[in-house]
């Protein structure tokens, strides 16, 4: 099973590599993102770039965005390019194919975020490190990386669900765009819809809970949600159904 999963990861990476190396097919947008997030932002923000609480959501969002574009191409693209049935006619199991695709996309998204983070650290230290090294607090770094991995897994699971219903990559990406807006803007809009008193009380309660505990709750919530979504995706990804779709 492990060998089969890595075989699929290998194949997906061969295709991603082609996309990344081709300026027209995604290499350019990746370079622009790397320049803005990895160089411009840290140089402008200085030490705040590693100290701000907001930065914790920055990398998971970046990784999840990368995963969303790849997973749609990886799942809906196989069907659109008529390679899926041949893949399903091979000896690879349904779960090896799907897990391989999810791991490949998550590795790519997380890898991209981590590389950007490393470039950012170099950039911020070159521009502002005259008084000593500027680094993330270890706990914040661990939480950020864990959040990045879990957000990527969740996005990959959602992506599989959406892609299985889409007949083309374009359709899947459009549906994905809407899902991302709903997932990111929805909680904010809901929060704003609450009365001022409720919001104040909620923020006050959060303050009493403490930062570490909130982070733990968020991580646990994301973990459970990712497990449910990926479990559901595995249950839906069955060759008997896929061949006839």
């Amino acid at each position: 099973m492990i060998h089969d999963i890595w075989t699929v990861v290998w194949k997906e990476w061969q295709e991603f590599r082609d996309q990344l190396l081709s300026l027209r097919r995604g290499g350019l947008s990746a370079m622009i993102l790397a320049l803005i997030l990895g160089v411009v932002a840290p140089v402008q923000l200085g030490a705040e770039w590693v100290e701000s609480r907001l930065i914790i959501g920055y990398w998971p969002f970046l990784a999840a965005t990368m995963v969303s574009s790849l997973i749609a191409d990886s799942v809906a693209g196989e069907r659109e390019r008529h390679t899926l049935e041949t893949l399903l006619a091979s000896r690879l199991s349904d779960s090896a194919i799907l897990i391989g695709k999810i791991i490949a996309a998550v590795l790519y998204g997380v890898g991209f975020a981590v590389v950007n983070l490393a470039i950012g650290l170099i950039a911020v230290n070159v521009a502002h490190g005259e008084n000593g090294l500027i680094l993330f607090a270890p706990q914040r770094l661990i939480v950020t990386v864990a959040l990045t991995i879990l957000a990527s897994l969740l996005m990959a699971g959602i992506g599989v669900f959406i892609s299985l219903r889409a007949s083309t990559v374009k359709q899947a990406q459009q549906a994905f765009g809407i899902a991302i807006i709903v997932l990111t803007m929805g909680p904010l809009l809901l929060f704003n819809a609450l009365s001022y008193e409720t919001r104040t009380a909620f923020i006050g309660r959060l303050g009493r809970v403490g930062e570490t505990r909130i982070e733990a709750y968020v991580l646990a919530g994301l973990f459970v949600l990712s497990a449910i979504v990926i479990g559901g995706a595995l249950a839906r990804f069955k060759r008997g159904k896929l061949v006839l779709d």
Binding site: H3, D4, T7, W10, K11, Q14, E15, D18, Q19, R81, H82, T83, E85, T86, L87, L88, A89, S90, R91, L92, S93, R239, G240, V243, L244
Partner: protein, 323 residues
């Protein structure tokens, strides 16, 4: 087990429904190991559904099928491990190079690295694609892609390979080239080939046995020679002198003569099955027609196929297309 040979495929009244549409209707087949079997039928006849059932990709609604002695319902994974397939589409990753396409499937079939490299080289060389191995497949012609897809299907030395219309959409030169490659491959690798096609010439040249399917029903099965014999419906070509249109009309009224038509000196007569041509020749001579040559026209596989299709249509059993 026909003629004591081991079977590659055994289907026993396999039926597959898609809602109200019956794609396979009690299909029963026995295909011995080591032959090229041609599955002939028009579009929507149920050929692709048969392959999907045999590969264990979908279950039959009723009936039972075994591939290499394995149950298609229960042992789909084991069947796919022992088989290769070129399905409706080449199924190649067009962004990847030819080498990487084969490398991926070689890894999927767990061929050890060294053996995989040698096998990829062997297959690409055999199909004349080695020099272009690093090109992204998307830049290749349809014929080259089909060759690569065939190479991929047999890369892991399967005992049985399914080829779903491998020459479909190719120009005549590419078709002939691929057909030669397939024949050589089947002979050299000793693999059983299950080939679907509606190219009758291809089936006649490649296949030891053929089955004809329409609307999910198997209409006939046998060697191309046996099917041709079935299609020999008593057509006779007579070279004459002095034949007139009026005589041709009268000839058509004779017992056992189904049709008669003249074109210049040539008279094409179709007689009832088993009927003798001698009374017709005697009748012509009696009416002062010179008979220079009488030649029984041998039916081609195409004649037999069209005859079967026609008979099926006449039986009013055409249930339309299938998924």
């Amino acid at each position: 087990m026909p003629n004591g040979r081991e079977l590659a495929i055994r289907a026993d009244r396999v039926t597959r429904d898609f809602g109200p549409v019956r794609a396979l209707d009690a299909l029963s087949l026995e295909i011995p190991k080591g032959i090229v079997f041609g599955f002939l039928g028009p579009n929507g006849a149920g050929k692709t559904t048969a392959i999907r059932v045999l590969l264990g990709l979908i279950d039959p609604s009723a009936g039972h099928a075994e591939v290499l002695g394995l149950d298609t319902r229960r042992d789909g994974s084991a069947i796919r491990t022992r088989c290769g397939a070129l399905l409706e589409h080449p199924g190649l990753y067009e962004r990847l190079s030819a080498y990487d396409n084969l490398d991926f499937y070689g890894r999927a079939w767990r061929i050890a690295r060294r053996a995989r490299q040698e096998r990829i080289r062997e297959m690409l060389t055999r199909f004349g694609l080695w020099e272009r191995r690093d090109d992204p497949v998307g830049r290749w012609s349809r014929g080259m892609k089909q060759k690569l897809a065939v190479a991929r299907a047999v890369l892991h030395r399967p005992a049985l390979v399914f080829l779903d219309e491998p020459t479909s959409g190719l120009d005549p030169v590419a078709t002939a080239g691929l057909r030669e490659d397939l024949a050589a491959l089947a002979a050299q690798e000793g693999v059983t080939v299950f080939l679907t096609t509606h190219n009758l010439n291809e089936a006649e040249r490649l296949c030891a046995q053929v089955g004809v399917i329409r609307s999910g029903k198997l209409l006939a099965v046998g060697s191309p020679e046996q099917l041709r014999t079935r299609g020999d419906s008593g057509r006779v070509d007579i070279r004459t002198t002095g034949i007139t249109e009026e005589l041709v009309r009268h000839l058509g009224d004779l017992p056992d003569v189904r049709t008669a038509a003249a074109s210049g000196d040539h008279l094409a007569v179709s007689v009832s099955n088993g009927a003798s041509v001698a009374p017709i020749v005697a009748w012509l001579v009696q009416h002062d027609v010179g008979v220079e040559e009488v030649r029984k026209v041998r039916a081609t596989l195409e004649d037999a196929f069209l005859d079967l299709m026609g008979a099926e249509t006449r039986n009013g059993e055409d249930a339309g297309g299938t998924p």
